[in-house]
């Protein structure tokens, strides 16, 4: 036990020095590895501007990513009209996945960003750019974002899911 305590102390000191010197994402990765902790580093909260939209209208959803750690984490955006750092899921009231729109691959802008302890970042996304939500009905929407450095017990990248929201599309 004594050895472990000393090791932890040394490791913590090492990490402190590294954090101040390295890029924040690298520091985040090192911290995650050192802690061997697969608890999510952030949470996602999803809301809709309105619970109901007319078919064909712009449907705004807001994603709030909140830092759950005691260190900086990444919240970079890869933008091409939506934020590609997120995965988006929409199902109709029967559980059937909504039809996705074809998205091109013309290019994107990298908007690098980090957020500090206790902070949050918001994204407002036009979800109709991703799914064809032109049929009246109720749709359940979730978004997810991969943990950049954490893997689950099976070695797969850890994915953080948002709460589901339901929106109604009217004719």
């Amino acid at each position: 036990m004594k050895i472990n305590v000393i090791r932890s102390f040394i490791l913590t000191g090492f990490l402190f020095i590294q954090t101040s010197a390295l890029h924040s994402q690298e520091a985040e990765r090192l911290q995650a590895l050192a802690a061997n902790d697969i608890s999510p580093t952030f949470s996602l909260t999803l809301t809709s501007k309105s619970p109901e939209y007319r078919a064909g209208s712009i449907i705004w959803i807001k994603i709030v990513q909140t830092n759950l750690t005691k260190h900086d984490i990444d919240c970079t955006e890869e933008w091409d009209g939506i934020d590609r750092t997120y995965d988006y899921e929409a199902t109709d009231e029967y559980g059937k996945p909504a039809e996705k729109r074809h998205r091109g691959n013309a290019g994107w802008d990298i908007h690098s960003s980090t957020m500090a302890v206790g902070e949050y970042a918001t994204r407002e996304i036009q979800i109709e750019r991703i799914f064809k939500l032109d049929r009246p009905g109720k749709y359940t929407i979730r978004v997810s974002r991969r943990e950049p450095f954490l893997k689950d017990e099976r070695g797969e990248p850890l994915v953080v899911w948002s709460n589901p929201i339901t929106i109604t599309i009217t004719g």
Partner: protein, 612 residues
Amino acid sequence: MNKPLGKLGEAIVRSLLHAATLFLLISPTLCHAAVKPMMACDAANTGQIPTITSVSPSTLYAGKTYNVLVTGVFTGDSAIPGCDYIEFWFVTSSSFYSNGTGLVGGSTDSYVTVNNYFDPGAYISPTQTMISVTVAPNAPTETDDVIITCDGCDYQAYAPIQIVGGLTITSVTPSGWWAGQKQNITITGTNFLTKSDSSGPSHVTLTDGANAVTLSNVNVISSTQITATVDIPKKAPAETVTLTVTNTSTSGTPQTATASPAPVVLPIPVISWRGETISGDGAKKQTVIVGQPVELTTTPATLPGGFTISKNMWDVPGTDIKSYNGDSSGITINEDVDLKDIYTTFYWLYPDTGLNVTYEYCATDTSGNQLCTSPQATATFKATRPNISLTVTNPYNHGRVNELPVCGQHQRAAFMFYGDLHYLSGCAPPYTGPVGIDLTASGGDNGIYKFVQVLPSDTLSWNGNAPFQCGPYVNVLDSGFPFPGVQPNQIRPQKAYDGPGQALPNTYSSGTRNFHALMYLLWQPPQLSGTSTASIPVPIGYQQWQFVAAADQTAPIGRGKWQQPVTNAAGAVGDFMLSQDSDNAIYGYPIWGSVSGIGSCDPVNQTQEIEE
């Protein structure tokens, strides 16, 4: 002639008396005669000439009822040859007459009513008769006479009786008196006594609860008009004032009249902010940070005496708005600051050293007359803002071609980026090269920065056998609102990065991106203590920058081997420009048409969905 006349007989008598009265009225020679022969009648011979020795009281006040005791010699009509009956008259306008000794007749003075008309009970003795009269409240001051005369005969006796007119106040103008100044007022009414009147002039008194009003220069101009000056200190409260005019009398009780409705002291309005008075003498200049709410209230809220506040008028100089709302769909502001209430809340957007906010109100009296504030209330503000700037600390002036790995959502492909890749989701280890541009805000770290990037134009094009183009996207919001990179409450160097990229499909010989950006910097000051209203972001300025680059594929085309791009222009264009309230319709806040959506464009399949 002590017999009932009946109604017809009374009417005849009255007609006769009225005729006689008219005669007397138009006969000035009779006005002051004690005894005057009127027509042939042998009373002198009989020694039965009627006389009046006294009338008591001899002064009658308007609005009151009197028993007038008339003493004299009231001979019976039969005692005077030729007399039908004896009359009691008032010369000029009033008359009493007697149907028989001591019997009271009527009055032709429209302001005097005889109450014991033909009442036998008026008779007291052969030498005394009691006449009950009521003088109307609005009776004028005049001299009437009690007359004894012989109808059908030519003798009469009379005694003067003074009618002191009814004292009334019909109006006081102005009806409201502003605190903090001297004002001339006019009192209009009836029966004011001037200096020339024996008991004149009338006196004016004012009484107010705060004992604040001072009266001076009282001048009775006429029986219907008095002028005076009222002086009211600045701090006088809203209150009604009792204004009384008094007519003194050497005999009888003084008459008084009180103005109704009562004049009202209209206080100088007072502007308050965060519980403190900030207008008036000694008020200090207030300091507020742009974007912080200015919640002003004013008094009075109500007025006494039936006065109503009919108009509130604020004047707020400078660039101010009522509210702000911003999200990815756009920035909206409400310019319509409520300037017609005793409350107003607004935000200043730009610094200014001398902002005089004024407030005035109008009060309407019970007659519908409107009086507007004089003077106004004024509060002076200084709107400040930290010296905030935006600097481009890493204006890389080159593009790079990178081969993306298969990771996350990314397929292996060539891309042209401004700078190096910084990070790609799902890709480990992260790319840590420099990004295209790094914009750092400073100077306002006690508040919150918000970056908003608008693209005046952005076009991606590919050349080859089948050229294709995405865009131009014109005046679109890049990413969302706010632009990623600066998070709420982040207190440290505030940066926004951007690295525009473009896919380089193997089927094209070259790719070009023509990217022009305006990075706006907004700043939201800290919450103002003592207020629950949140501060709002205000426009600070914008930095123009661009990335215009082209990359060529190495021949033979189709193998995906690309040369490093040729950069025609990259980085900042000019200096950070401070926003101006005249920049656009929303005072320098960024304006965009829609959110950029290059993801709908596919150069591989050469398709482009129409996006909003």
